[in-house]
């Protein structure tokens, strides 16, 4: 059983004066997330990340497709007891105090009164708001509100936590604190699905990431694999300066120090280069695949044409 299983989920919005044209916000998304996995949903602003989360939360309805969470239909009220959600830049009832807000959400999640009162204090401590007291939320800073947001998402001890841009708008300290909180949730075995456009956060926390752009899922994979895929280049070090001129057309860059040549080659051309180097009797010292950054990968994926663009003449 997957924690999250999305099948062909798409969302079109009618646009124009007569609302007859459709603008796709999400195009037939297929995605699975394993139980206990931390999955990062990456994409630039307007890529379809929030649309996906809103669909999964039942805030908007899909044009087609469906999803299952922990094996049950995603709109089943029973499954909603097992999920927590933090919207992007959340706003909460500012006339409530943090314990009142958590009490309200816990009651909506069906927690018994006795359990509620025990859990509220524990969760507030956990997110670092143990001393917030009865201060109304209107007096909270942005960082404190974000922590309240995480607290409301986990107050009922959910198995799957959805977080929409949890670090957006926070200062470095705030981001670090939220990242620590997410790491602790991951360590507890919770499934985390979070959207972000801050790649370092995804790199630090995620087992796998998916890149979405213009409503289309471009790629999904393990962070390390994706980074090496995108690099697509290898560093080749060999002795034999004479040979470098013969293979110059294969090298994207090269530096010669005495007889030693350090060259960068596209991975596709690696076999050919090695063959030529043997032929020209150069001595191979090292071949190292270059590790790209997640940013390289992200930029590569978001600059690729969409499927619909690709078929256009």
């Amino acid at each position: 059983m997957h924690a999250i299983e999305i099948r062909g989920l798409s969302k079109d919005y009618p646009v124009g004066f007569w609302k007859k044209k459709l603008r796709p916000a999400l195009k037939s998304l297929d995605l699975t997330v394993a139980v206990g996995e931390a999955f990062g949903f990456l994409g630039p602003n307007g890529a379809g990340k929030t649309t996906t989360l809103k669909l999964l939360m039942g805030i908007i309805f899909p044009s087609s497709g469906t999803a299952r969470i922990l094996g049950q239909h995603y709109l089943d009220p029973a499954i909603k007891k097992k999920i927590g959600f933090l919207p992007e830049q959340p706003y909460f009832y500012d006339y409530l105090s943090a314990p009142e807000l958590l009490g309200y959400y816990a009651q909506l999640s069906g927690m018994p009164a006795l359990e509620r009162s025990k859990r509220i204090g524990a969760v507030l401590e956990r997110v670092g708001l143990g001393d917030a007291g009865n201060k109304q939320l209107r007096k909270f800073s942005k960082g404190m509100l974000q922590r309240v947001g995480i607290a409301q998402a986990i107050i009922h001890d959910p198995e799957v936590v959805f977080l929409d841009e949890p670090m957006s708008g926070l200062d470095p300290l705030g981001r670090h604190e939220i990242r620590e909180l997410m790491q602790s949730l991951k360590d507890e075995g919770k499934t985390i699905f979070f959207s972000t456009h801050i790649l370092s956060d995804a790199e630090a926390l995620c087992d796998r990431v998916g890149v979405i752009h213009k409503g289309e899922l471009r790629d999904v994979g393990v962070v390390n694999d994706l980074r090496s895929n995108v690099a697509g280049k290898s560093e080749v070090i060999f002795e034999g300066a004479h040979a470098s001129a013969k293979v110059a057309d294969l090298l994207s860059e090269s530096h010669i120090t005495g007889e030693t040549v350090r060259a960068i080659v596209q991975s596709n051309d690696l076999d050919l280069l090695l063959e030529k180097l043997r032929h020209h009797r150069a001595r191979l010292i090292a071949v190292t695949p270059l590790q790209g950054t997640l940013e390289d990968y992200f930029l590569a994926k978001t600059s690729e044409k969409t499927a619909s663009e690709a078929v256009r003449p």
Binding site: I60, F61, K80, I83, G84, Q89, P90, Y105
Partner: protein, 258 residues
């Protein structure tokens, strides 16, 4: 289900209290008690009549204004501020949210009216130097005012599920005014011919009959109110508000929340 409904109801009530909506009643009570001795001076022999008319009409108007101004934001504010996102991601059905909001605002208005009633009776005692049996009849008029609130809250909530706050307020006020003259609309329908008769009749039955829920003048003149009128008005208000709330639920169930 009841736990979720009561949570939403109480939170709506709490919001109104903390947003100081109920502070209007302090003003109302103070004004009424302060003005009570003046009624005797400006209207010899009619002080009770004037106090009842002014007091109950103000209660009704204050309540309708609160019903409309709080009601128009009940759903739209939750969508605009995205607080609804965290509610719908929980095991809360959309109809529970709407019904909870309805009861929350109604509860605010009932508490508001209850406190105003206390102030009103204090002013009455000051003016008339005591209470008579006829003054108990005023409670029926106040009960009918609450029935008006039931209807107006449901209508405002209905508008707030599909319209902007400004348009919701305009629609609700328009219906309140038309509803106050519902009996005249019926009379107009009776006198009309052909298509206009049908149109006027349809409009007369569609708009809330707030005229029949207003017995302030009758109560001021100490005219008795029949038990059947109380029953009929209660059934009417319950059915009308249930229909409007159901329509609100049906619209909201299908709505994509941006």
């Amino acid at each position: 289900m009841t736990s979720r409904l009561s949570a939403i109801t109480l939170n709506t009530f709490r919001e109104a209290v903390r947003d100081r909506v109920l502070y209007n009643l302090v003003l109302f009570v103070l004004l009424l008690v302060a003005c009570a001795p003046l009624f005797g001076q400006i209207s010899i022999g009619l002080e009770r009549l004037i106090l009842v008319n002014v007091g109950l009409s103000s209660m009704s108007l204050f309540g309708v204004i609160i019903a409309i101004f709080v009601g128009i934001g009940l759903v739209s504010k939750e969508i605009e501020k995205k607080t609804l996102y965290t509610i719908l991601s929980r095991p809360v059905r959309r109809w529970e949210f709407i019904v909870g909001k309805y009861f929350g605002l109604l509860m605010t208005l009932i508490v508001n009216t209850g406190l105003m009633t206390v102030g009103f009776y204090v002013a009455l005692i000051i003016t008339a130097h005591g209470l008579t049996r006829a003054d108990a009849l005023l409670l029926v008029a106040i009960y009918f005012i609450i029935l008006q609130f039931m209807v107006m809250v449901a209508l405002t909530l209905l508008f707030s599920t599909f319209s902007t706050p400004i348009f919701s307020a305009i629609f609700a006020f328009a219906l309140f005014v038309i509803g106050t003259f519902a009996e005249d609309l019926k009379n107009f329908a009776a006198l009309s011919q052909g298509a206009s008769k049908w149109l006027a009749s349809a409009a007369a039955y569609l708009v809330p009959n707030l005229a029949s829920l207003n017995i302030i003048s009758q109560a001021a003149h100490e005219h008795a109110v029949s038990g059947s009128l109380v029953l009929m008005n209660t059934v009417y208000a319950v059915l009308y508000s249930a229909a409007a709330t159901t329509a609100a639920v049906l619209i909201f169930e299908r709505r994509n929340l941006k």
